[in-house]
């Protein structure tokens, strides 16, 4: 029960903050509300015992990426005149929401109809670093290595891109 209440609160927080994120005019506002979303999602991870992912989410997303965004926003020194003049922003948001609604409704309907059970299965080991690490380095070695290469490539790409007059 406690979990359910927590879930509901977190759910509300994440939805509201993400809505704010997409509708805020200035990027700094969106970034800040996005942090709230990310943290609430991390909390949701924790709620199902995915402790390692909880940590990773907090550190990488909320910590690294979002701070990078904030840093960039400040670094670029974005003023209001640099922002796009989004006259029809609200209309766009409304329109797109209407378009997307059937999609979401159908999916929700399908989820509700489906018979995925809510197991209360609780393995103590589940979600720990050890467990995740064991899976990662046994079954998922190759993707892991590939991701490392991807990171490298992204790194080099980022450097190349931002070099002046490449």
């Amino acid at each position: 029960m406690q979990n359910e209440i927590l879930f509901a609160i977190l759910e509300l927080i994440s939805i509201i903050s993400s809505v704010v994120m997409i509708s805020a005019h200035r990027p700094i506002d969106s970034a800040l509300s996005f942090i709230v979303t990310l943290i609430s999602i991390a909390a949701l991870f924790a709620l199902v015992n995915a402790t390692f992912l909880f940590v990773v989410q907090i550190i990488i997303y909320a910590g690294a990426i979002l701070s990078l965004i904030l840093f960039i926003i400040m670094f670029l020194n974005i003023k209001d005149e640099n922002l796009p003049d989004e006259k029809y922003k609200n209309r766009w948001l409304l329109g797109t929401s209407i378009i997307i609604t059937p999609f979401s409704l159908i999916l929700i309907d399908l989820i509700l109809r489906s018979d995925i059970a809510v197991h209360a299965l609780r393995d103590e080991k589940f979600g720990t670093i050890k467990d995740v690490g064991a899976t990662l380095f046994s079954q998922w070695v190759l993707p892991f290595e590939l991701v490392s290469i991807l990171l490298l490539v992204a790194l080099i790409g980022a450097v190349t891109l931002s070099k002046k007059e490449a």
Binding site: L44, V48, I73, L83, P84, K89
Partner: protein, 100 residues
Amino acid sequence: MLKGYMILSIILFSIGIVGLISRRNIIVMYMSIELLLNAVNLSLIAISADLADSSAQVMSLIIIAIAASEAALFMSLFVVLFRNRASLDVNLFTILGGKE
């Protein structure tokens, strides 16, 4: 509760799409993409918890890694684009249309 997770994931995903399509601000668009990834992660974690299988957690871990590399690229892109056009408006970057 699993259904709740899934539904939340769907809702977040939809919000992400709405943001991605509706906004012209490239930074917000980037964050919408991240939101999409997070929505997927959420559902993966929920399923993994449900099945007590940590493979899904590994998957979301990899997704987070990819998101990170994406972030690196996006950041440098922001810098370059902003330097060239002094704006964050994606409507200015329509080279694909071939009209220039």
